[in-house]
Symmetry: C2
Subunit: 263 residues, 2 copies
């Protein structure tokens, strides 16, 4: 296999489809947008679409496929969401039941697919502006916290917003806001800057998911809405069935991050 | 009655509710966002919500109310969409059947309400930057055209994008793009700048709706997505029932235009 880092999205998806790549996708197809996946039976589709409309920062919709449709058209003209994601989580009644490499065998004609923006896109933009991203520097997972910020509920879906934290030097916070504001479809601007207690976070060294990272003197903790929010919400709403990507194992689109930017 | 131009949104809505104001709302409650209204029976709700998600420029969602809910919460904590709009259009199977001052008597528990951003918000921002808006200057309705740009279809909903045209001096086009880009939830940046033929418009003097306006030498026609698009789409999709505001007779929210701006 050619070094996977040099492959285009289409080539990587083809490897994934053949079962030859089932690992995380961070660092692959740099420059191209990756997406979070949520698949639900039709009876939940309106409620979840409305949940995303009401909570665009944690749930920024990139593409929604209608009932039974398993081919994307906006994010790629050449992708099948039943096979092109390295790993899927299958939740039944809010409990993780299985982790699998494809879902063709359990696909149903009433499934509605939601693809949501991922913070990889704005992290790349921060790095390009020489704003370092600590968890990448330290080769860790981004620290994630269940905040006290309530999502707006919609139908059966409700719950707290999960946020990511990146420590930013005081003199670069403003620029970090400006840069991420351009990427409204991948979480956009921070939801909170500074005192973690204000959003119900007691200890930055103890994230609810991911790893703790070093916060240097003169750095301010900056919080962005996180794509793990829908999975946390699913565990609360307990739909009969919900299929997501396995965290870190994203859908790789043909869309450039820059195509998602405004201004 | 006190001069209505000096009243706050809440006071104006109260007059409307009592049937004491059933005229257009342009120029009222300056600084506050006004919204387009679309009400549909539940069976069409997912398709139309998806249509809006896929076509955010013509259909920028400000708030969606769940089945049977007739009170807003984001746009106002004190409004009833059955009575607080000066005039409603009632369409059955795509045909305008009636125009009424309130809809309490025909309200059903499966009705889903969509409130969409309106260009009044960004026009105010253009004026503040001393970019004149020709149809306001000439005391006319904005010229609207059925363009050749196809909306992305969703379920039963499909059709061409309706656009508005505002002539902008060459040296201010760039600034007009910047300003309106801030208002993604009220149509956002232009969809086309320059040659009308490129988007299927043969004669700027013959708009499909509204009035023609003067285009001066050294001005470029600039086109924005228009909130009339959903009404055009309804006429094609012919749902059993659809209730909208009567054009120009908008919902007046408690939200400041500036609260809708990003960056």
């Amino acid at each position: 296999m050619k070094n996977i880092n040099q492959l285009l999205p289409k080539q990587i998806r083809s490897l994934i489809r053949k079962g030859r790549w089932s690992k995380p996708t961070a660092g692959l197809a740099m420059g191209y947008a990756q997406a979070n996946l949520v698949i639900l039976p039709g009876k939940y589709a309106f409620d979840f679409l409305l949940f995303c409309q009401r909570n665009p920062k944690p749930c920024p919709l990139l593409e929604v496929l209608e009932s039974g449709v398993h081919r994307t058209s906006f994010l790629s003209s050449d992708a099948d969401i039943r096979t092109d994601i390295p790993r899927y989580n299958i939740y039944r009644r809010g409990r993780l039941e299985d982790t699998v490499k494809e879902i063709s065998d359990i696909w149903k004609s009433d499934f509605v697919t939601f693809l949501l923006g991922c913070s990889f896109s704005f992290e790349e933009a921060l790095l390009r502006a020489k704003i370092s991203v600590r968890h990448i520097e330290e080769n860790k997972n981004v620290p994630m916290f269940i905040s006290s910020i309530a999502c707006k509920s919609a139908g059966v879906f409700h719950g707290p917003m999960v946020v990511t934290m990146r420590p930013i030097p005081s003199d670069k916070v403003s620029q970090a806001v400006q840069i991420t504001s351009r990427y409204v479809s991948v979480h956009g601007a921070p939801v909170h800057i500074g005192d973690p207690l204000k959003i119900g976070i007691r200890d930055l060294k103890k994230p609810d998911f991911g790893d703790p990272v070093t916060i240097k003197k003169d750095e301010i903790p900056v919080f962005w809405a996180c794509g793990v929010t829908p999975q946390a919400v699913m565990m609360k709403a307990k739909p009969d069935l919900c299929i997501t990507h396995t965290p870190g194992h994203m859908f790789i689109s043909d869309l450039l991050n820059e195509e998602l930017a405004i201004l």
